[in-house]
């Protein structure tokens, strides 16, 4: 087939006026990497860009500038806060690359759907972050379960939260993962703290929070020197944790 029809489609496409089957056909042609069309589009966009100057003069509303700067500053401080919570770059890197590649290809093929793609990319990024976190935890747990030294310890709800349950997957040298369900959210200013109890005083094993459904997954470091742990217990403590248990015990494994 001659290229000539595509020259016409490129002009109509540049104006955003291509529709129907021809739009699909032309985008497929572009996606194949037609350099002639890419160059025609580039040139058409420059022409149409210059045409913007033919619009009747209008002064941009000053508040737009202010609002934009506010949005950008707010987004920057939000990103800083999220950065502190950490990320898990060592998982799903390939998936991330695939998502980015897909977004880029999409943007090339259909530049005018950029906003929709941008929105999707943001949603994907949020989902990806959540999945990365979950994958990290679940992978840690399955790795642990493969090891014969690993044991699974049940924790039962006590006192204020009789319906709560917990499972500790524990390896003395590697540490463990605590899975909690049905535990009510800690009151403001408070958080749950896990303790490992062996010889001597209970050792703090990290602070965690539960989600809206009362669930939590908490990664636990091994006890120094791989000392044996007889009991796992969770207490309600000030939100940054305490060096020794002070609050009520909400979950514990049998002695």
């Amino acid at each position: 087939m001659s290229h000539e029809p595509f020259d016409t489609l490129a002009a109509v496409y540049a104006l955003g006026a291509l529709d129907g089957a021809e739009l699909v056909e032309f985008e497929a042609h572009l996606a194949e990497g037609c350099a002639r069309c890419a160059s025609a589009l580039r040139e058409a966009h420059e022409t149409l860009g210059a045409l913007a100057r033919s619009a009747p003069p209008a002064v941009p509303p000053p508040e737009v500038r202010r609002v934009l700067h506010g949005r950008i500053a707010a987004a920057a401080s939000r990103r800083r806060r999220e950065g502190v919570r950490g990320s898990f770059p060592w998982i799903v890197g390939t998936a991330a690359a695939a998502i980015v590649a897909a977004a880029l290809t999409g943007a090339f093929v259909a530049g005018r759907y950029e906003a929709a793609l941008g929105q999707m990319a943001r949603e994907l990024a949020a989902t990806r972050q959540r999945l990365q976190r979950e994958v990290a935890f679940y992978r840690g747990a399955t790795d642990l379960l493969r090891d014969p030294t690993t044991r699974v310890v049940a924790l039962r709800g006590l006192g204020p939260s009789p319906g709560a349950t917990g499972r500790m997957i524990w390896h003395p040298a590697v540490g463990g993962q605590l899975f909690v369900a049905n535990l009510p959210a800690a009151p403001p200013g408070k958080a749950y703290e896990l303790w490992t109890i062996g010889e001597g005083a209970p050792r703090p094993a990290g602070v965690f929070r539960v989600d809206a459904e009362g669930r939590a997954i908490h990664r636990v470091e091994p006890v120094e020197g791989s000392k044996p742990v007889r009991v796992f217990a969770v207490t309600l403590e000030p939100e940054h944790g305490a060096p020794a248990p002070t609050g009520p015990m909400v979950l514990a494994s049998p002695k």
């Binding site: 020259d7 045409l51 619009a55």
Partner: protein
């Protein structure tokens, strides 16, 4: 020394807010008249302007200077968003008819543009559409300002689709010759 538009976008891509401020100051006055011309309502135009520059900030990393000038990049975004806006309005209200009757280009030599750098080429570009044969000018205006697709233009003008496509192509070629000195 003045940073080029491409340099500013590059700095925006790494989160430079100062670069964004300069980018905005340089290009908002270029794209706002176009947005205003397309969407008509000043409140809508203001929303679209904000959306366009917010997306430019977020999408700065995707800018590829080999694919076009910063001006073409931001104008494309502005036109796309503005047309999205009027298409949405049109979907909501079946009776909405895209404007055709206005004088689409300002009168040649119209004063009041503040950017001195554009004064030289502004005149050439401002009446660029006026230098097209009326049939070509009409289809380009319907697509560029009213956001009609080729099929909609054909229905509206009661012309065969093929004729509309050809007029668009020829009109765009002619336009390119007209604005070339300004580019």
């Amino acid at each position: 020394m003045t940073a080029s538009g491409a340099e500013l976008i590059g700095q925006m891509a790494v989160g430079d807010r100062e670069a964004f401020a300069r980018f905005y100051d340089r290009y908002a006055s270029l794209v706002f008249p176009l947005i205003q011309r397309i969407v008509r309502e000043r409140a809508d135009a203001s929303d679209v302007l904000q959306e366009v520059f917010w997306e430019a900030w977020q999408g700065a990393a995707s800018y590829d200077p080999t694919r076009g000038s910063p001006e073409a990049w931001i104008v494309m975004r502005a036109r796309t968003r503005a047309i999205d806006r009027i298409r949405a309005t049109r979907r909501r209200s079946e009776t909405f008819v895209a404007p055709l009757d206005d004088t689409l280009a300002a009168a040649p030599g119209d004063p009041g543009r503040d950017a001195a750098e554009r004064a030289a080429d502004g005149r050439t570009v401002r009446d660029a559409l006026g230098q097209l044969p009326p049939a070509q000018r009409e289809v380009i205006e319907l697509a560029y300002y009213a956001g009609l697709t080729q099929t909609e233009i054909a229905e509206r003008l009661r012309q065969p689709l093929g004729t509309v496509k050809t007029r668009i192509r020829l009109g765009l070629e002619r336009l390119r010759e007209v604005v070339k000195p300004a580019l």
